[in-house]
Amino acid sequence: MTKYSIFSLIRNALSYHENWQKAWRSPDPKPAYDVVIVGGGGHGLATAYYLAKECGITNVAVIEKGWLGGGNTGRNTTIVRSNYLWDESAALYDHAIKLWETMSQDLNYNVMFSQRGLLHLAHNVHDMQEIGRRGHAIKLNGIDSEFLSPAQVKEMVPIINLNCRYPVMGALLQRRGGTARHDAVAWGYARACDAMGVDIIQNCAVTGFEIEDGTVKAVETTRGRIGAGKVGVVTAGHSSVMAEMAGFRMPLESFPLQAFVSEPLKPVIDCVIMSNAIHAYISQSDKGELVIGGSGDPYISYSQRGSFDQVEHVAGPVLELYPVFSRVRMMRQWGGITDVTVDRSPILTKTPVGNMYFNCGWGTGGFKATPGSGHVFAHSIAKGEMHPIAAPFSMDRFNTGALIDEAAAAAVAH
């Protein structure tokens, strides 16, 4: 792997950039691998990366039915944060943030992780109680958290309308939160995986699993049978489809979630701002577009697009909080499929099938966890035992009732 740096850039400029190598190879699948990761999104690629880098398992394939990062990795609003209420969540997401902080250097690929600060606005007494509780819990979990007054919010976001339908009463700030360049995460992992010998195989859809005596032996794909010592399934909105192929049920519902960008503007919003009561979240990309998200579509679907009503449901709140955007134009809307659990927490788990592991259920908030998710999942697969940070997220919790109910805590999708 050629190291990327300002020097390699200059050197290659002199040869008209004609000598750059492929970021990753496109090999044909081998007959078998020690581990096959199904799903070439951020979480799947991160899993392969840590298998190879930290677990000494390099005979790994990542198979992807379309193009790398084409699912939710390339469709989300790129927000990264770890200000979660429950201890289990805080541990998982903060584990991820710590890995985000060194990801560009680790991968030698600039993923533009930008800790611009993330605000959760509170608009009523109930919101204040909610951020109060979460702020204290986060702080005691050793994660940064601060309360801001409305005046401090205004200082950070001069264009905000504090006196909106539900006036801003305060905010919870996580300074280490921010955004990252989502595509670069997939590409950076793919390149680093490839350099360690992992095979990245695109346009390779899974059609079934070969299971013998309750243990997975191979993955059947559109590019033939691929033998597998272990299988890690990381397929987000299609995880329940994969589970069905493997003969069990995964307690997920798949909903479209839309995102929107405006035309590019000169910088006007410097941090990420989330609001539950006036439901929209917004940040501004390094290219200048306002990146906006809202609620999921209220029906189950596998279609990666959205309906009109969410467009309208996002425009209203955006204008209420930032009325100066009235004459700004929305440039594009798109949708992804989120795999939602009943407690809005992910599933990192062994399954009824031996040597088969699932990593799914990230719902509307998986991007932020990408490196942490891959890291603990890789260690779980390598060891055959769930990593301590992953253990509470086992699918068994739906039987025992030990839910990690972030939905109940925040009373909103996150």
Binding site: A137, E312, M330, A411
Partner: protein
């Protein structure tokens, strides 16, 4: 040089109406009917903007909404608007516009340094650098990147204009009012079908507005006028000029953006909206949006002065503007020849560079006859001029079109009109999930199958000749109307058109130059984002081969034009690299909207006070008059507290709390959810929805109930009263009213449809005055003659009807304060009068009106929970110490099964307890967490404070909390660390009842 590029006698502009406008601080003149772009060209202004990345000088490239270069900052102040296409902005008097993305000016732009260093900034360069040292990423590198971000500037003031939304249904919606769209409207309209015809432009006619062709022996303009006149006369036809069909959703739901007043500029009159957003459900759609001309990819093809041949022709014929005096038409097909002929006729010196080695046919002959020199088999290999084009190099091409066959020669020119073929505008078809197929002859994508009732017609369907457009439009209109139930489907006969036959085209996707691709000269395909053919080669070299990777890695097609002129060219370059056919490369997904749409229009009227309407109780006017401070609870405005002169919130609440317990208090409880439940299975139903037993409840009595979700967790509570054998009045929390009704209906409709139970929300039908305190009985006796209010005869949780304060009332003996209390429900229309009367008569009983904060303190003194504050969806009734409310006798109720799950049944769950601070003056912040021993985070937490107040009646601070194993730890000492990281409060766990522990006060 005022309008020195105008062509005498040409164009549809109104020369009797000159208009003054300002561009970059300089005043210019144009005419009514101009766009900003045509007026700038008329005045010889070529340089109109700077590109995103390299800050290359750019000029006007198109005459439509596909414009990538000429995007400007329109107006200043409150009405400023970024990224407006100069080609779509109609000129009005006083229009002011400025160039974007340049500093200090578009002429001299410091950012142009990027162009000098462009060699070091290929596609995706930022992924490869700015990583060392890591500490510099945010303070330095990203700052630089962000400073370069964006095009135009966001407004900083509130938009003074209004916007509207409009719903419509129609039989046939036609997108595009060119020859095909007009024909379609005519055919459909004549059947009597309801037709909506929308076109982006100020005038109907589309490409005909720039054409010199005759239809049925008359100028095209006459045919347009006659057609529009006929359509206008049809009562069922709606004509929408300046209206873009922007999005196509499932089930033929489309959205349209109508620019109602943009062409008039800032106005004093705001009686009409600036833009109107249409939401249309169409039985049938006809997509007739025409086609967009493809630019050619040649070296340095981005100089100001390079424009589409069709745009050049539009400026000449429609606007009477010569885009240059020395024009080189660069083409591979015949469609550019009319532009050359029109330019020549308008007085320009014209030469044609034709990729075809042997162009022939009537148009070519005509051009030759007019003395236009044709350089056949040649391509442009380079251009000259920075801020304005002054010449180009031309050379014969090899047979395969990949190299030069001879040395280049120079031609002086100030305009290059390029014609690389046509792309049907298939965006809406694709948004509707219609398939595309590649037409090898026409070298373009054309619409294929679509699951919705839609058809494409005209150039948008790949039918590029006018006769075909007219014919196809008529047929589509007749067929769509017929399928919508109108007419017989037979199309009227198309009018005669005399057309010159066009010869075959030659497609050269990348025109070679004298240096290898990427070696100094740039072949731009995405002009706005500065993406070149060399960038695509780089992407392919590095493995970003998938069309989505290509787009995302190079940013091609990601500008405000969303790749309308660039995408197919980019695909062609990738296809060439991969040695594949273009359709094998695939396309990126076409996403709404077709052109960017203002948030204002999408938001419509749903703004300011209409954003989410405030709910107020019938007594609201009295609360306002009495100086209440309001709290937002759900959508409700509830009185929070009623401060008297100079009181702050704390003082007011302390006074209200004290007085309510000492004498009596009055609370507006109208916002509580109220659901009327009737039917023979109503008692059975309540047995299922609540944890306790309801079939045993006597008529005229109420009972407190908690409702669980499937996980066995508390989600709502309230008192429900049996009004009659099969008739119950349920109350819910204020915030939970809609959710609970939804849940009741969901169970009834999906699980127990055979059960006869009928639920009706009556929240807003009843106004509720809660009277509480030792003097409540005396006050009630003053208010009613026909109800015996003595608790001895009107026991706790009983219900009476009668007249209270002159209004028919239902009175419930319910108490949320623990004191003797009456909930007086009167029909909403009596609410204000009854409230006022109670306040008046209460004066002598020491009545105090109190708000939600006092309500919270009083209930916390008694340890009564608030669902959503003391619970969070993870709390069972047992966790709340309410085992008594969970029936052991019932076979089933919602949530019962989950109580046997191991984690739900285990010891040590968080339980509701009281919390007392060591210092009675310290009120813990709600949300504070308790720990066993203070220390440095991370530190194990035992639970958190859910409610916390200063209680004047207890005489100290009190708090409730959910603490692990709390019931067994009463009396234990814990610690509450504060957010400052220093302060720690010592606390003791207690029973969660602080006042009147024996419950003596309930009956006075």
């Amino acid at each position: 040089m005022s309008q020195s590029y105008r062509i005498e006698g040409k164009g549809r502009i109104d020369r009797s109406k000159p208009i003054r406008f300002t561009w970059n601080g300089r005043s210019y003149q144009g005419y009514q009917g101009d766009t900003l772009a045509s007026a700038l060209l008329a005045n010889g202004v070529r340089l109109v903007g700077r590109s995103f990345k390299y800050h290359r000088p750019r000029g006007i490239m198109t005459a439509g909404s596909e414009e990538p270069n000429a995007v400007v900052q329109l107006e200043e102040g409150a009405r400023t608007e970024p990224n407006t296409r100069a080609t779509m902005a109609e000129l009005y008097d006083g229009l002011t516009a400025n160039a974007q993305n340049c500093w200090p000016s578009v002429e001299f732009d410091v950012g142009a340094l990027n162009a000098k260093l462009s060699r070091f900034f290929p596609a995706g360069f930022y992924y490869k650098t700015f990583m060392w040292p890591a500490a510099l990423w945010e303070p330095l590198y990203e700052k630089i990147i962000r400073r370069a971000a964006g095009m135009g500037e966001s407004p900083e003031e509130i938009d003074p204009d209004s916007y509207a939304q409009h719903f419509a249904h129609c039989d046939v919606l036609i997108a595009g009012g060119g020859p095909a769209g007009l024909s379609a409207a005519l055919a459909a309209g004549r059947t009597g079908a309801r037709v909506i015809l929308a076109d982006e432009g100020a005038e109907f006619g589309g490409s005909l507005l720039a054409d010199t062709v005759e239809i049925a022996g008359k100028p095209a303009a006459d045919w347009i006028a006659e057609t529009v006149a006929e359509l206008t006369a049809m009562p069922e036809v709606t004509l929408l000029p300046r209206t873009t069909v922007s999005a196509y959703y499932d089930h033929n739901f489309l959205t349209l953006t109508e620019r109602v007043t943009d062409h008039m500029g800032p106005r004093a009159d705001d009686s009409v909206p600036r833009q109107r957003f249409w939401k249309v459900r169409a039985k049938q759609t006809i997509l007739a949006q025409g086609a967009i001309e493809r630019p050619l990819l040649f070296a340095d093809n981005d100089r100001p002065g390079v424009m589409l041949a069709s745009a050049a022709r539009t400026y000449i014929n429609r606007y009477g503007v010569l885009p240059g005096r020395e024009i080189v038409v660069f083409t591979g097909n015949d469609s550019a020849y009319p532009a050359a002929l029109d330019a020549k006729a308008a007085g320009a010196r014209v030469e044609i560079v034709d990729l075809r080695t042997d162009p022939k046919g009537p148009l070519v002959d005509h051009a030759r006859a007019q003395g236009i020199e044709i350089h056949a088999g040649c391509g442009i290999t380079g251009t000259r001029g920075t801020k304005a084009l002054h010449g180009c190099d031309v050379a014969p091409l090899s047979e395969d079109g990949k190299s030069l066959a001879d040395e280049p020669f120079s031609i002086g020119c100030d305009c290059i009109a390029v014609a690389g073929g046509w792309n049907p505008t298939v965006h809406l078809h694709s948004q509707a999930r219609g398939k595309l197929s590649w037409d090898d002859t026409k070298q373009c994508f054309v619409p294929g199958y679509c699951q919705w009732p839609t058809r494409s017609a005209g150039a948008g369907n790949g039918t590029f000749d006018l006769a075909g457009c007219l014919d196809e439009g008529l047929k589509a209109g007749a067929a769509a109307a017929h399928e919508a139930g109108f007419g017989k489907g037979a199309a009227p006969e198309a009018p005669a058109v005399e057309l010159s036959e066009e010869g075959p085209a030659r497609q050269v996707w990348i025109v070679p130059s004298d240096v290898p691709l990427g070696h100094g000269k740039k072949h731009f395909h995405d002009h706005q984002n500065d993406v070149t053919a060399a960038d695509i080669h780089l992407a392919a070299r590095e493995g970003y081969v998938s069309v989505e990777h290509l787009k995302r890695y190079t940013t091609t097609g990601m500008g405000t034009d969303q790749g309308k002129t660039s995408n197919v060219n980019a695909l062609a370059v990738m296809a060439d690299i991969r040695n594949a056919r273009i359709p094998e490369v695939g396309t990126t997904t076409f996403r709404p909207p077709y052109v960017p749409t203002t948030f204002g229009a999408i938001g419509g009227q749903n703004r300011r006070h209409l954003f989410l309407q405030e709910r107020t109780t019938p007594m609201h006017a009295a609360h306002v008059a009495n100086g209440a401070v309001f709290e937002d609870v759900g959508d409700w405005k509830r009185p929070w507290y009623f401060p008297r002169d100079g009181e702050d919130m704390h003082e007011a609440v302390q006074r209200e709390c004290r007085q309510a317990r000492e004498t009596c208090g009055l609370l507006d409880a109208s916002t509580l959810g109220k659901i009327d439940i009737q039917g023979p299975d109503a008692a059975w139903f309540l047995n299922m929805m609540y944890t306790n037993k309801w079939d045993t409840l006597a008529v005229g009595k109420g009972r407190y109930g908690v409702m669980l979700n499937e996980h066995g967790m508390v989600i709502d509570d309230g008192v429900t009263t049996r009004l009659a054998e099969n008739h119950f009045h349920m109350t819910t929390t204020t915030g939970g009213a809609a959710r609970v009704l939804g849940m009741l209906e969901e169970w009834l409709q999906t699980e127990w449809p055979e059960r006869q139970v009928y639920c009706t929300s009556v929240t807003e039908q009843w106004a509720v005055c809660t009277i509480t305190g030792p003097n409540a009985k005396a006050l009630m006796a003053d208010l009613t003659d026909d109800i015996d209010v003595d608790p001895a005869n009107f026991p706790f949780l009983a219900y009476r009807t009668g007249t209270v304060a002159g209004a028919p009332a239902r009175v419930y003996r319910i108490s949320f304060t623990g004191d003797l209390a009456y909930e007086v429900n009167v029909p909403a229309r009596h609410g204000l009068a009854v409230w006022t009367t109670i306040l008046e008569r209460g004066r002598k009983h020491g009545l105090v009106q109190y708000g939600t904060e006092t309500m919270h303190v009083l209930r916390a003194e008694k340890g009564f929970i608030i669902v959503g504050q003391d619970t969070d969806g993870t709390v069972t009734p047992m966790d709340l110490g309410m085992n008594w409310i969970v029936s052991k006798k019932k076979d089933d109720f919602i949530g019962k099964r989950s109580h046997s799950r191991s984690d739900t049944a285990r010891e040590g769950r968080k339980q509701l307890v009281g919390i007392m601070t060591e210092d009675p003056n310290v009120v813990l912040p709600e949300g504070a967490h308790l720990v066993n021993q203070p220390g440095k985070p991370p530190i194990a937490m035992e639970g958190h404070v859910t409610s916390s107040y200063m209680s004047p009646n207890v005489g100290r601070s009190i708090a409730l909390g959910l603490i692990k194993g709390g019931r067994d730890r009463i009396g234990d000492t814990l610690h509450a660390p504060m957010m400052d990281g220093k302060t720690v409060h010592k606390v003791t766990l207690t029973e969660p009842v602080f006042f009147d522990k024996e419950g003596k006060r309930t009956n006075g």
